[in-house]
């Protein structure tokens, strides 16, 4: 996956990409394919996937706090319906969520 410049802003609805990626990735398995919302734009960082192999990790990658509904993540979630989880996800792991 190629690093891209910032494609999303706060409030945008996004979906985490799926697919088996070799090498070092920071997107946890339990969030793959899940739908969420951009809660915050954290900033630009060198790609950890490249740094893991002693590469410069450039160009910088946009990093977001993505907010997910706990009820959407866990089939048997028994907590409050308003509960959310926020995770750091890089730009190239997200697509715009066009579903209703």
């Amino acid at each position: 996956m190629k690093a891209q410049t910032q494609r999303f802003g706060v409030g945008d609805r996004v979906r985490v990409r799926t697919g088996q990626m070799p090498g070092h990735v920071r997107t946890p398995f339990y969030l793959r394919g899940k739908r969420g919302m951009i809660a915050d734009v954290v900033g630009d960082f060198r790609s950890p996937e490249q740094l893991a192999y002693h590469k410069p990790g450039l160009p910088l990658c946009a990093l977001y706090h993505v907010r997910f509904e706990q009820g959407q993540l866990w089939a048997d979630y028994a907590g409050n319906a308003n509960d959310v989880l926020e995770a750091d996800i890089f730009d190239h792991w997200l697509d715009r969520d066009t579903e209703d």
Partner: protein, 128 residues
Amino acid sequence: MTQTKQFNPRDTGDGRAVHDLGGLSIGPIDRDEHELTFYEKRVDALLMLLAGPKRGIFRVDALRRVVEEYAQSDYDGLGYYDRWIGAISTLLVEQEVLSAEEIDARCAEIRKRLDADGQRVARGAKAP
């Protein structure tokens, strides 16, 4: 330095990597906190020195990558800092700071001395 991207799936059958435990039903998290042992502090200090701005032998991202390449039995069976020191050892060889032979020879010397002193020496799993 090899650039092969070795993917090590866990035996859950869904393609998640060996280290990627979030969401698995593997029992409650052990919240017991312990004072770091001297060994653990030394491993931590070694990482700080090697990955720090002055020496920059590797980044912490590389450490994570190597830890993620452990076989599942080693990943699960080794302690947190055991995995770190194994990965550090691998990275020192990968970055040509030391050779595997140099490390093995020095370990053999130390084991010989400890055995002679009657101390037990644990033999950890080989790092990936």
